[in-house]
Amino acid sequence: MGRFAPNLGHLLVPVCLVLVLGIMAAVRAPQTFTYVGLAGALLVAAPLILAAVAITPIAIAGRGGVDLSIGPLIGFVNVTIVVWLAENGITNPVFVFAYAIAAACVWQVLLACFIIYVRISPIIATLAGFMILQGVNLVILSRPGGFAPEWLSDWGWGTELLSPVLYILIAAFVIWFLFQRTAVFQHIRLMGADERTAYTAGVDIVKARFAAHLIAGVFAGLAALCLTGLIGSGDPTQGNTLTLQAITALVLGGTSLAGGKGGITGSVLGAIAMYLVFVVLSSFNFGAISGFMTQLFYGLMLVISLMLALLANKNRLQPA
């Protein structure tokens, strides 16, 4: 891992965060760390982890690229798997996988076109996308319901650690690891760090931006499959909350929204930290307000970790 050594600084805060929260969770809710507990945790956390992974390449590509539409996109794939595929008897796993990934990629390509050719800033383009998909999802399925293909809803038992959800997560890591070693990824990083330098150095910045969105689409499709497996049905609104959570996880993980910096390891750690906060808070008896408490602590955690990252960076830069 020597070659990543100088870039590991941004992981310091998320790693500490996960460790601290992990110890708290182990004390307050020891059942989390049993075989069944971990299997359940994996199942519940997977959609968020993959959503955070999906928006990472877009953030790295720069221009303040944060994909607000990620939540409704995952929701869209979820409801269409249930309404368009399962209800029409299309349940072949290969086809459902291919559909989920292709649908998310098509959406990401659309977004990329708007950002590149219409020159809309990513945050506006994806905000519009957020609202459009939110509406579309409700048109397709007005209230939670329907059934996912059986093999997919079986994932939702969450009693086995060595489940398809784990394999999907591992596959996502492998895809990212390979992607990270490609020339395309270097182009995306360079473009995100300084678009003018990338352009004058001969990088095809149009292709690079499309590539960032396409790889995001792959992960978004996987996230949607995990969500569908988790809830076993279609839910037009469940995905929406993932947007803000995924962005929080991304920022917690030290990926800079300014571009050029970060990776999915941080995003995954951020997502795990958020899940652990949820677990720790659930162990207290907040009753009806527990949902609000979770939100409150997500916000506090974000502010504190950004402040810590600032301090850590200052100390690192001073002797230079």
Binding site: P6, A183, V184, D194, T197, T200, A201, V203, G260, A320
Partner: protein, 514 residues
């Protein structure tokens, strides 16, 4: 074999004509220089060749190509080292050296190979051993310059364009660079050098194209490339912009200067500068890009702090204040007007009157309430004096022409009733009428006891206008010309670091230009 053939290239940015009929021819296996004053269009011409700037008209043939974007140029074997140092600050040294070296899908070599090659190349070029994983942001400017040079050289170009018109390299480094260029030339490539360091260029170039105001005014072959010939071609016919001659104020010996700089150093290596500005004086400041003159005026204005030394203002004959911040400068009655309106002057989303009043709200308010009536009256009187043309003062400032925007900024500066006004190239992109208004206004200000520092990139502005001209060269104050000595020849020679003015022979000028 011809490497580059450009004919009658024209390019306008808004109302500024950066290139107005530039032509250039260079052969493979030679070092060709593009020379010219500030703003003569040499950097724009270089960007036309590298595909960054697309010309409005003209014909281009660069080794059989006509690149329309940098990627195309690089693929055709054209590498460019831009005037701006193009590095991604957050990325590592090796990533910057090999930026764009991979094709879209395939990497050109492994990361380990890139790192060791980046290290080796920088060791050879910069004579320092740099850990290739270091983020570029942590490195000094000259190393960043070497990184972009390394990037270009490693592309093994058949045509290398090096825009060094504001390069951050010292003499020793320049010699090393010249060695690299000569080895490229040996290998049959063509090297284009955009520069104003004419002393060095005379040594290594085989031919040169001279630009003036965006036009090619001459081409010199090896034997004709001398400092005298180059300077002669570069200097325009003297256009005396300022009209009536100005009588120089007599400064009595016991008078205290309005502003005084003692032992100010612009960088670690430059000589300390002593400078005095007396009430009633108009002092011109000139220099080529990177000569440090702009840094000097921003130190006087309290925007930057000097490396060493101090700036003081005298109030009365005994009381002096040190200027070390903008607040101190403001308190001492020093105002600053920048010619870079977009970056340092206007608030594009605010109205004309708001742009005018923004620095005056503190003075024109009572208990937190803005005195609109007072401000409007003040605006009316300033607007008349400067003859600003506008439709309604609540229009956005960007609805005005560049010249009128500049007038609003100058009105803002005058409305603060300053003792010293520092102008940084205020006439950039401004029409002649506005310039005349501005000169008249500044003269009036000076004869009422104000002091003016006027930095200009167009030396013609100083004729019959400035009482004194301070010329900077390579980070130091090189020459101080009295009013009678201010001439095109003297200023230009001093800007290029020549102590003795070049003797001009009118006949050879027209010959060379033909």
């Amino acid at each position: 074999m011809p490497a580059i053939s450009l004919e009658n290239i024209k390019k306008a940015f808004g109302e500024t004509h950066a290139l107005a009929g530039a032509s250039l021819h260079a052969e493979m296996g030679e070092i060709h220089a593009i020379v010219g004053e500030n703003g003569s269009g040499k950097s724009t011409l270089a960007k036309v060749i590298s595909g960054v700037v697309l010309p409005d008209s003209g014909s281009i043939d660069i080794m059989g190509h006509c690149p329309t974007e940098p990627a195309e140029a690089i693929a055709a074997g054209i590498s460019t080292i831009y005037q701006e140092i193009m590095v991604a600050e957050d990325l590592s040294v090796w990533e910057n050296v090999f930026a764009g070296s991979d094709s879209f899908w395939r990497r050109s070599m492994t990361t380990a190979e890139k790192k060791s090659l980046a290290r080796e190349t920088l060791k050879r070029l910069a004579l320092t051993d740099i850990e290739p994983d270091t983020p570029v942001a942590a490195l000094p400017l000259n190393i960043k310059q070497w990184i972009v040079i390394a990037r270009a050289i490693l592309q093994k170009p058949r045509l290398l364009i090096f825009d060094e018109s504001s390069a951050a390299l010292d003499l020793d480094a320049t010699n090393r660079l010249h060695k690299e260029m000569l080895s490229l030339k040996e290998a049959g490539s063509c090297v284009m050098l955009v520069t104003h360091r004419i002393a060095e260029l005379v040594k290594i170039t085989d031919s040169a194209t001279v630009l003036r105001d965006g036009e090619t005014v001459g081409r010199l072959e090896k034997a004709d490339i001398t400092e005298e010939n180059l300077l002669r071609l570069m200097s325009a016919d003297s256009r005396h912009l300022a009209t009536a001659k100005r009588e120089k104020n007599v400064i009595s010996i016991e008078q205290k200067p309005a502003l005084e700089a003692c032992g100010v150093r612009l960088s670690d290596h430059s000589d300390p500068i002593d400078f005095k500005l007396y009430p009633g004086e108009i002092v011109g400041v000139a220099g080529l890009d990177g000569a440090g003159h702009d840094r000097f005026v921003s130190i006087l204005a309290g925007i930057r702090r000097p490396k060493e030394g101090s700036v003081q203002v005298w109030q009365g004959s005994t009381d002096s204040h040190t200027i070390d911040s903008l607040a101190a400068a403001d308190g001492a009655g020093i105002t600053y007007v920048s010619g870079d309106r977009k970056k340092e002057g206007i608030f594009p989303n605010l109205s004309i009157i708001e742009n005018f009043a923004i620095a005056l709200y503190g003075r024109y308010s009572r208990r937190g309430w803005i005195d609109r009536k007072g401000l409007n009256e003040l605006f009316r009187s300033e607007e008349e004096r400067l003859s600003i043309k506008y439709a309604s003062k609540s229009d956005r400032i960007t609805t005005l022409s560049g010249g009128n925007q500049q007038k609003v900024l100058i009105a803002r500066a005058f409305a603060a009733s300053p003792k010293v006004i520092i102008l940084n190239d205020p006439a950039r992109g401004v029409d002649i009428g506005t310039k005349q208004d501005l000169y008249a206004h500044l003269r009036r200000f000076a004869s009422n006891g104000g002091a003016v520092i006027y930095l200009s990139s167009e030396i013609e502005e100083f004729f019959n206008f400035a009482d004194r001209a301070e010329v900077f060269f390579e980070g130091g104050l090189f020459a101080s010309l009295e009013q009678s000595e201010i001439s095109e020849e003297n200023l230009l020679s001093a800007m290029f670091g020549k102590a003795q003015p070049v003797v001009f022979d009118e006949d050879t000028v027209s010959e060379g230009a033909a």
